[in-house]
Amino acid sequence: MNTPLDEPTTRVRIEVNGQPVLRDVACRKHLSDFLRDDCGLKGSHLGCEHGVCGACTVRLDGRIVRGCLVLAAQASGHRVETVESATPGLRLKALQDAFVEYNALQCGYCTPGMLMAALDLVERRPDADREQVRMWISGNYCRCTGYHAIVDAVCAVLDLQRVGAFAAEPLPQVNP
């Protein structure tokens, strides 16, 4: 193997939370390091850094992905949303409130990834039942709560959505 002795870089242009960002980055840099180090967005966390824990979950072109399993170079020309972006959205705000109300976090390390996965579920699976919530967040590890409180919080937000609490923000037309 001829491993390069230098550090090859590439220019990326990524829409991050609605803002175009232009940077020169190492080819090997993954999206989470790009967001944290090059964009100053510390919301997405790195737990395992090999695609197991889900703490780095962000949305790429509207779908949740592992930030640690996408290169910044691959995301060039694409749209990224992090937990910071969605804060003003009614659904994410409701999820954050529910996480507090139901004690769905303790140390909070998994919370940004949980919130992004849960937001994706609330938007794409408005009819999800408790079992489907568990399946959807099965890729996000929490070492504190035992998950019940997280599932409670997500189900509470789904209930709110069903009674029209987010009617002011209709769901975007998304693929299932």
Binding site: E7, L60, L71, G139
Partner: protein, 287 residues
């Protein structure tokens, strides 16, 4: 989990990708969804000097029915297969298997072709394609060639694809009249790699199975068919004795390796259980 340094090129066409592969040989790796490759680079299990990103080759993505086959492009993401009406209609085995692949965020990104080309013996797609008797379409400098799934998987992470070839697509026969397909696997947790798994298809008439194909995952160095068990099960009407004989044949022809948490004997026991469940499931009349 930081990779060693590498260079990155986004291929502009399949020909561009092939030229880069020809030029860099074993120093280059094809990057599709990256859900396995980037993790293994992070763990430094591989240290290529160049990644050839084929993510922009949109011709390689998509699901269609053409000339009596279901064609799934190599860049089709797992989630697209999971949610495809064409797959549900013509290859329900894949729709059943998809939810077992890792987790939603991984399925949004990982690709069908990537999983087939990587040929992890614990992966779902290779066993499904083997069970369905699929055909892999490869592109090289000399043009396209087709390889039957039975000949494609050669060993641990090893396939008939040459280093300078790209996997373009997989073609699958359409679900036939009377055909049933069943996927099941046993894993410690949702989304974990299977301890044992079975992709099965058969034409069912009463209690008689024909054109049966049983493809196993996580039970060898590659996805494996159990031809002896297939043969026993198709020898006549199903009976308790025939199923017991098939189980004995299965135990004789599989020789799984132990993994970190399961002995070879435990895996074999699980395979036998999956076989019995699959037979019951295939012959149960759809509600």
């Amino acid at each position: 989990m930081k990779s060693q340094a590498f260079d990155y090129v986004r291929a502009e066409s399949a020909q561009h990708a092939l030229a880069l592969l020809a030029q860099h040989g074993d120093d280059a790796r094809v990057l599709a969804g990256g859900q396995t490759l980037l993790a293994s680079l992070g763990m430094r299990l591989a240290q290529p000097s160049l990644l050839v990103d084929i993510g922009d080759l949109t011709d390689l993505a998509g699901i269609s029915v053409d000339h009596g086959v279901l064609r799934i492009g190599a860049l089709t993401r797992h989630v697209e297969i999971e949610e495809s009406p064409l797959v549900a209609l013509h290859a329900p085995l894949l729709a059943q298997a998809a939810p077992h692949i890792a987790h939603r965020a991984i399925r949004n990104r990982g690709t069908f072709g990537g999983a087939l080309a990587y040929a992890d013996p614990a992966a779902e797609w290779p066993a499904c394609v083997l069970a369905l008797g699929g055909t892999l379409v490869l592109l090289g400098a000399g043009g396209e060639r087709r390889v039957a799934a039975d000949d494609f998987f050669r060993g641990l992470f090893s396939t008939a694809r040459r280093d300078d070839e790209l996997l373009l697509a997989c073609e699958l026969p359409l679900l036939a009249a009377g055909e049933r397909q069943r996927f099941s696997e046993l894993a410690r947790r949702q989304g974990d790699y299977a301890i044992a798994g079975l992709a099965a298809r058969a034409v069912v008439q009463g209690s008689q199975l024909s054109q049966l194909r049983l493809a196993w995952l996580s039970l060898g160095d590659r996805p494996l068919r159990s031809r002896a068990a297939e043969q026993v099960l198709q020898g006549g009407p199903l009976s308790a004795q025939r199923i017991a004989d098939a189980e004995a044949a299965l135990r004789a022809e599989l020789s799984p390796f132990a993994d970190l948490t399961h002995s070879a004997a435990a895996k074999l026991q699980m395979a036998a259980t999956l076989l019995r469940r699959a037979v019951a499931n295939l012959t149960r009349d759809p509600a």
